[in-house]
Point group: C2
Chain length 216, copies 2
């Protein structure tokens, strides 16, 4: 059934909600619309309609459609980075922490599929400056994985012949890819998927001795 | 410098080229334009201009913009599938063949970055029927990896506690991801990247005995 061209915004009580709450609603609607239509084909009107606002009211929260995309992308990325940094800082040897970081990243991705898809597909729609702002963070992301692999090599737990950057990119690929195939309510929980992908990665990078200790 | 709004098509000699050659040129230009602008924002006029054709002449080769996208996506997918099926059929035990398939897939992706990006980002722009046609192939793709892991388990070469589907998706993620970070002329060749990602994957899935035999 085609969507009506224009819809009367449902504004009842809308303005009485706190500003932060309304802003979060707009962000969530924008994430969903960008995901469904793609950034280029999405109109601010679609987003306003989804949250029952007038299009002009969006400017109270965001400067432009581009600003909205930037906020969507940086929010999911910032949260994901916080998850893995927190796990990377927990006690344990570098391999244990890497395993924990991978599992956390997978769980976060499974629980933020739509925002992750928008991030991964629409980053290129941002102008260079804002893209760089995020790309800095992306490297920070990659840096957590790479740093732990570096440390594991330093402690003789990861293979010395491994290139830490390639290994980090391999792990990021294996785990980010989850956004393309995971569906809530499927055969495996996010925790089960996280544990399996983490084990595959740890087996890939560990020395035989470290491996025998971790998976006897 | 902004592009001129309309450009005089450079048609000199164009019509004298064989039909197949012109068709391939249109496909290549479409791949590039879809990559640069996104499918939604791309116009047939952009593609016609790029190959020095009149827009109307495109219909001699393709029915519509959607048909062009379908041809771009199915071509890169069909070729990639041919590469991995060929390698999967070579002599060797299932782990050796899996290693070879992974390396081949990475090399193919590195050499077809733009078309792979269009495939991965724009598949959802196709109508359900044509998407299903490709998705069938995507599962065929995944099936090659999964089938080899299944066989390796059957022969006691891959860990029995591994879920073959999750393992196949992990390998596909690690290897597909290359399209996001590989740049020609960088630190590593496609062959080096293929070999490293293959080793990481094989170590992830192999039994300790198979691993000791493969990487003594």
């Amino acid at each position: 059934m085609p969507q009506p061209e224009s819809r009367t915004p449902q504004r009842s009580g809308a303005e009485r909600k706190p500003r932060d709450e309304r802003r979060a609603e707009v962000l969530e609607a924008a994430t969903q619309i960008f995901y469904e239509k793609g950034y280029e084909a999405s109109a601010l009107r679609d987003i306003a309609d989804r949250v029952g606002m007038l299009k002009g009211s969006l400017y109270y929260y965001f400067q432009s459609k581009e600003d909205l995309l930037f906020q969507v992308i940086s929010a999911v990325h910032r949260e994901g980075l916080a998850v893995i940094r927190e796990r990377a800082a927990l006690p344990g040897d570098p391999l244990q922490r890497l395993e924990n970081v991978i599992a956390g990243h997978v769980e976060h991705t499974c629980r933020n599929l739509v925002a992750t898809a928008v991030f991964l597909h629409e980053l290129s729609a941002l102008p260079t400056e804002r893209r760089q702002e995020i790309l800095g963070t992306e490297h920070a992301y990659q840096g957590v994985f790479r740093g732990l692999i570096d440390q594991a090599q330093g402690e003789g737990l990861a293979r010395a012949d491994l290139d830490p950057r390639l290994a980090a990119l391999s792990v990021l690929g294996s785990t980010n890819w989850v956004y393309r195939w995971y569906r809530p309510g499927g055969e495996f929980t996010p925790e089960q998927i996280g544990a399996q992908l983490a084990e595959l990665a740890i087996r890939g990078v560990a020395t035989p001795t470290a491996l025998a200790a971790r998976f006897p």
